[in-house]
Amino acid sequence: MKSTPLLFAGLFASFAVAWCAVIAIPQMQIGNLQPQVDEENADVYPVDISGLSEQGRQVYVAQGCGACHTQLIRDAHMGPDIQREWGARRTVARDYIYDTPVTLGSMRNGPDLSNVGAAKSEDSTRRYINDPRWLYLELYSPRSHEADSIMPPYRYLFKKRKISGEPSPEALPLTGANAVRSGYEVVPTAKARALVAFLLSLDKSHPLKEARATAPAAK
């Protein structure tokens, strides 16, 4: 290899061809998907989240939640996600068109969060429940739900304050080692509120033409 132009051209061509195959063609295929609109009742999915939930997405990213949690359901033959009752169908590209940034995640030290906000049973043994107060307590003290949880406590997303007048309806029901002195309460900060709003907005259970449910929805 004595010819410098030939070397540079070869390198560039290798890079460019791979780039076209792996980035440009998929971009044409799934880069500009639109929401699915139902003809009969104008049911649109997915919808963009905004306001508090959108701020919560930034909190989710900033706290590094994605280091341990995924937000994708694999098809039944690619992994046991559906049997695990994390979702009734696999997730597909259309589910994520408004996710900026997309938080698919790459580790499951904790459970998948694709459908935290989807309606779930009242059964309190479930790992997460469509209930802000459960989620607040989970963030403040994960071990009050699961004794062996390895999730770090996010107490700094909450504040302890003196109760003035009526106790806040958002105050955490803390007991045992977490209990606070009487006359005080622990309430979520704006960040915790946003994060929980975001978690509750996570719902990829809506039927899509390209991804039918392969198992009965979690009961």
């Binding site: 390198l11 792996v22 980035i23 900033a62 706290q63 030290n109 700094y156």
Partner: protein, 495 residues
């Protein structure tokens, strides 16, 4: 009789003159490279220790979530992200750039034209790493692996990179006529590939070029190219330099090496989508990457065969030469890394190992067991030539070697085992009366935790080894080495 007696001294004289000129040339090159390369190495070693410390903190947090939990700056997700990014941009890239500049200067026989400019580039690059780290720790981080640095920090890195790498290319273009060594090809390829990768991917991601899942596609492609091309090409180029250099034998087959190089360059860009296997991407995309990874075994084997055959008569040197032993450990790890990566690529395996510590082990195999070890080897060779003094003690080098070899090795074995344990536990779904698949998730946590304790111990070993290395290096920088007229510092007594 008399004819011979007059000829011999003549030859010796000519040879002596050639040796002297070559020596002067090397000294000139080393002098030109001294300040920038030592600056890069010092920065790299500093970041190496920082990332070791962060890795240890993260590992402790997994076992004991309350550890430092009151400190938002050091929450688990941020520490992990900072650890991974500093490992690649702080330690590996700085070490790789320093090594690449020095090897290119030596092989092209060109002194670094303006040593001050790469130093400025290195300072800018360090600034980028600092900004990125602070960005992550104070809540400005992003979400894709190895792209957690805020985009502004990536811009700073890019500027710093251009100021550094352009000199590598300048040296290459000014090279003395003659053979272009295989090592040079790999290093130049790395230097040219990385800016496109960094700029292209970050432009698409940071400035809203792609939406939704395509961000993850770009991210996966970036991460794979970062480890599989940028670091790999730097590492292979370095090993291709030092194995022949230390053993005193030319590369066994130059044509085989060229074939391996082009196969590597053509195929590598197609790999990486396995990271999204089963995810919300077209299935063909993952299949393409799996196929490319299988074919990539060809250049991997070519490189390994070439290394081994070059060394075929010199394996005993591994007992003495620190450079060769580190580099050879790196070369073997390169092979293992690719095989493990290939195994993890298959969908049937991925169904278990995806989203587990197995993936962390794959990355660590490339970054640490392969690349870091190759860089340590290079540093043990290059630094004495730059400071014109020998390493103080073969025993300190030995402590570093065993700390790093056991540390990386055990850490990776534990991660692989933890990944398999975690993934297997997650694949088993109990059904029937009273079964609660969501609650059973905790079984995977209890399966992985004991193995990850092993990783903590490995990380402690690593910290010790690397700290010894850092102190040894600092002593050399403070001119406390042995005089360079002595023999190079080797393992044990050379017979």
């Amino acid at each position: 009789m008399s004819a011979i007696s007059t000829e011999l001294p003549q030859n010796v004289l000519e040879n002596a003159e050639a040796v002297r000129l070559e020596h002067i040339e090397r000294v000139t090159i080393d002098r030109s490279a001294r300040a920038p390369v030592l600056f890069f190495y010092a920065s790299a070693v500093f970041w190496l220790l920082v990332q070791n410390a962060l890795g240890l903190i993260a590992s402790i947090k997994i076992q004991w979530p309350e550890f430092l939990s009151a400190c938002p700056v050091l929450t688990y997700g941020r520490v992990v992200a900072a650890h991974g990014n500093i490992a690649v941009y702080g330690w590996a890239s700085m070490a790789g750039l320093g090594t690449a500049l020095w090897i290119l200067a030596r092989l092209c026989r060109v002194a670094l034209p303006r040593p001050a400019l790469p130093i400025i580039g290195g300072a800018v690059w360090n600034l980028g790493v600092v900004a990125g780290t602070l960005g992550i720790l104070f809540g400005n981080g992003r979400v894709l692996p190895f792209l957690e640095f805020p985009k502004s920090a990536m811009l700073v890195l890019f500027l710093g990179y251009c100021l550094i790498a352009v000199w590598g290319i300048v040296i290459f273009l000014q090279r003395r006529p003659g053979e272009v060594f295989i090592s040079t090809l790999y290093l130049v390829a790395a230097l040219l590939w990385f800016p496109w990768l960094l700029a292209g991917s970050n432009t698409l991601l940071g400035w809203h070029g792609v939406h939704g899942v395509m961000q993850a596609v770009v991210g996966a492609w970036y991460a794979q190219n970062l480890l599989g091309v940028w670091l790999t090409a730097l590492g292979l180029g370095t090993i291709y330099y030092f194995i022949p250099k230390v053993s005193g034998k030319p590369v066994y087959s130059a044509s085989l090496a060229g074939l391996g190089f082009w196969a590597f360059i053509i195929l590598s860009g197609w790999t990486g989508m396995q990271r999204l296997s089963g995810g919300p991407v077209p299935a063909w995309l993952v299949t393409v990457s799996i196929s490319a990874t299988i074919m990539l075994l060809i250049p991997v084997v070519i490189v390994m065969v070439n290394y081994l055959l070059t060394l075929r008569e010199s394996f005993s040197l591994l007992n003495h030469s620190p450079t060769l032993r580190f580099a050879f450990f790196g070369a073997l790890s390169y092979f293992v890394a690719n095989v493990v990566f290939l195994i993890g690529s298959f969908r049937s395996v991925g169904a278990v190992t995806q989203f587990t510590w197995f993936g962390v082990a794959e990355d660590q195999l490339f970054i640490n067991a392969f690349f870091s070890m190759a860089m340590f080897g290079a540093m043990y060779y290059i630094i004495p030539r730059l400071v014109v003094a020998e390493w103080l003690s073969g025993n300190l080098i030995r402590i570093h070697y065993w700390g790093a070899a056991y540390g990386f090795g055990m850490s990776i074995v534990m991660l692989l085992a933890a990944g398999v344990a975690q993934g297997s536990a997650q694949s088993v779904i109990r059904i029937g009366e009273g079964a609660n698949p969501q609650a059973d998730f905790m079984l995977s946590v209890s399966a992985m935790l004991p193995l990850l304790i092993g990783r903590v111990m490995a990380q402690v070993l690593l910290c010790i080894g690397n700290l010894v290395f850092a102190i040894h290096f600092a002593l050399l920088l403070l001119r406390l080495g042995r005089p360079s007229a002595d023999e190079p510092t080797l393992f044990g007594a050379k017979s």
